[in-house]
């Protein structure tokens, strides 16, 4: 399915879905309360069958006070790609559902996003730090992160 056809099928899943411009592939924005049900539909509906979660990461948009969670989906059956984004507030604690029930690898990748961005996933069975030490303070990939070891560039 090419990008335009995919947009029609994905857009029909729920009325609240919007599409993002300035992306090299089809990129859908899902509200966080619809995430789990939309993810289930993306995986299970036959013309889409996104059965693989390639990558999960986040971007800290400091100016907009938002953190964007990004899911790279791929269908081994049809060979098409989809980028799925969820915006969560940077200041208020909003629970994002864990997607490990949809794609098992999410459990592993969400631990990394928790470790580096401090996103709390509800329903995650084992939300611990993965790359940093257990007693690390702060979340390093946030744009306003500072610690004693970071040096200012002299130029």
């Amino acid at each position: 399915m090419d990008s335009a056809e995919l947009q029609v099928v994905v857009g029909a899943l729920h009325s609240s879905l919007t599409f993002r411009e300035k992306s090299d592939r089809l990129s859908v924005v899902v509200p966080s309360d619809q995430l789990l049900s939309v993810a289930m539909k993306l995986r299970d509906s036959e013309p889409l069958s996104f059965d693989m979660l390639c990558a999960h990461t986040a971007i800290d948009w400091l100016k907009d006070e938002k953190i964007e969670l990004i899911y790279q989906l791929y269908s081994t059956k049809h060979g098409h790609h989809l980028m799925m984004s969820v915006y969560v507030s940077r200041t208020e604690a909003v629970a994002v559902p864990s997607l490990h029930t949809v794609w098992q690898i999410a459990q592993w990748q969400e631990r990394e996003v928790y470790d580096l961005f401090g996103i709390c996933y509800s329903g995650h069975p084992d939300l611990r730090r993965i790359l940093l030490e257990d007693d690390w303070k702060g979340f390093p990939l946030l744009k306003d992160y500072k610690d004693d070891f970071m040096l200012e560039r002299p130029w």
């Binding site: 300035k22 990558a55 980028m83 098992q104 730090r129």
Partner: protein
């Protein structure tokens, strides 16, 4: 020496001493007196579970990876990978340097697929900047990437042998890998981290002897793969250690986000070189080997077959490397990628290496994410190894073919 008479007098005493010294429950009493029923006895006979720490300094974890094993006797119940011993904050660092310098991060991730990492990053930037390359660059990149795949699999083959207790493959693997490393050194100046492929082309043109040396290597190595098979794959001990060990079915493999030879061994013919061709792969003919069972033996066979396919790809390309410049677009120190998000992928020796760039239009990426194959592949060990033996775990870990800096980033 203790005489038998002395021993018989010592033994009951020491036994009674032990029995008096420890707490004996009423159940123990009844077991000793033979007053228990079969259910109680079964409960009693299950062993206590315990934890074994494997690594971070363990030769078969291939670097500083730690696995915590929940064991029941000799059986592994659970594998808990503990990461981060070589975490270098690559993604944070990437936000502080320009796009041209990003290439140098990639060969420090999966150092055995160094050139393919360079290529993935360069092509991610080129796609974002809409740079067109000439055929010479694409052909050389493809040849070099396939040579890298062969040397990576050679090292994997040697290390697999060593993990299973055979030392000879290790020496053979390194001996033959040295030939490729020498070819690389001649052209690129580096033996492990080459930084050869740059956005817009190649760092240097190929050495005048490159084509001749690659041909010499192919004629040298082609019969050796059969020798590898005879020496190692034909060995009954190796087959016993690999067959039906660490089985991963296709459905779980996809759900676990596994890519590369492991996914193909599970029976999914997923290879980006075929499905979304880049470089000059579309012009070459090659097969995608797939397994049927998804065990360690299939993963072994898939990688051995991949070496043969790589050789065939190089043979098709090496005779007609097109003429042209080795650098079509000389980017300045500051590349300004247009605002937006970009995700591009490439098939390295271990699976899909994806690069995610979020650009705000400045000369540094706003966010850079490396989707590394090993990080995602490693998680599959929790399913592959559960229920197996400790000895099998070593074989499974070796068949996943991990590179730890690629996991930890």
């Amino acid at each position: 020496m203790v005489s038998s008479e002395m021993a018989s007098s010592v033994l009951p005493n020491s036994l009674s001493h032990t029995r008096a010294g420890i707490h004996i429950s009423s159940l123990d009493e009844r077991i000793l007196k033979g007053q228990t029923d079969s259910k109680e006895r079964a409960d009693r006979e299950t062993t206590q579970e315990y934890f074994v720490n494997m690594g971070p300094q363990h030769p078969s974890t291939h670097g500083v990876l730690r696995l915590v094993l929940r064991m029941d006797g000799e059986t592994v119940r659970d594998v808990i990978p503990v990461l981060g011993y070589v975490h270098r904050g690559m993604e944070k660092k990437a936000e502080y340097v320009g796009y041209r310098q990003q290439v140098h991060f990639t060969d420090r991730l999966d150092y055995l697929s160094a050139v393919m990492g360079n290529w993935a990053m360069s092509s991610a930037i080129e796609k974002a900047m809409k740079t067109e390359l000439n055929d010479r660059i694409e052909t050389i990149r493809t040849i070099v990437a396939e040579l890298t795949r062969i040397q990576s699999h050679q090292l994997w083959w040697g290390v697999l042998g060593m993990d299973l207790g055979a030392f000879t493959p290790f020496l053979y693997g390194f001996r033959d890998r040295e030939k490729i490393t020498a070819i690389f050194e001649e052209t690129m100046g580096g033996r492990l981290t080459m930084n050869y492929i740059q956005p817009g082309g190649l760092m240097f043109d190929i050495h005048p002897d490159f084509v001749a040396n690659v041909k010499k290597f192919i004629s040298y190595f082609k019969p050796l793969i059969e020798e590898y098979e005879e020496l190692f794959g034909g060995n009954v001990i190796v087959q016993e250690r690999l067959k039906n060990v660490g089985i991963l079915d296709a459905k779980s493999a996809i759900s676990l986000g596994v890519t590369g030879p492991i996914l193909r061994a599970s029976g999914v013919a997923h290879d980006l070189r075929k499905l979304e061709p880049y470089g000059v792969y579309a012009k070459t003919k090659f097969n995608v080997p797939v397994g049927t069972v998804g065990d360690c033996w299939d993963r072994y066979q898939v990688r051995m077959q991949e070496m043969r396919e790589s050789i065939s790809i190089i043979e098709q390309l090496i005779d007609n490397v097109p003429e042209g410049k080795h650098m079509v677009m000389k980017f300045g120190a500051k590349i300004r990628v247009p605002e937006g998000v970009y995700y591009s992928q490439m098939e390295t020796a271990r699976g899909i290496f994806g690069i995610f760039i979020a650009s705000d239009g400045s000369e540094k990426p706003y966010r850079m994410h490396f989707r590394t194959p090993n990080f995602n592949n490693l998680w599959a060990i929790t399913q592959m190894a559960a229920g197996g033996r400790v000895g099998d775990l070593v074989a499974i870990l070796s068949s996943i073919d991990i590179v730890v800096p690629d996991i930890d980033r």
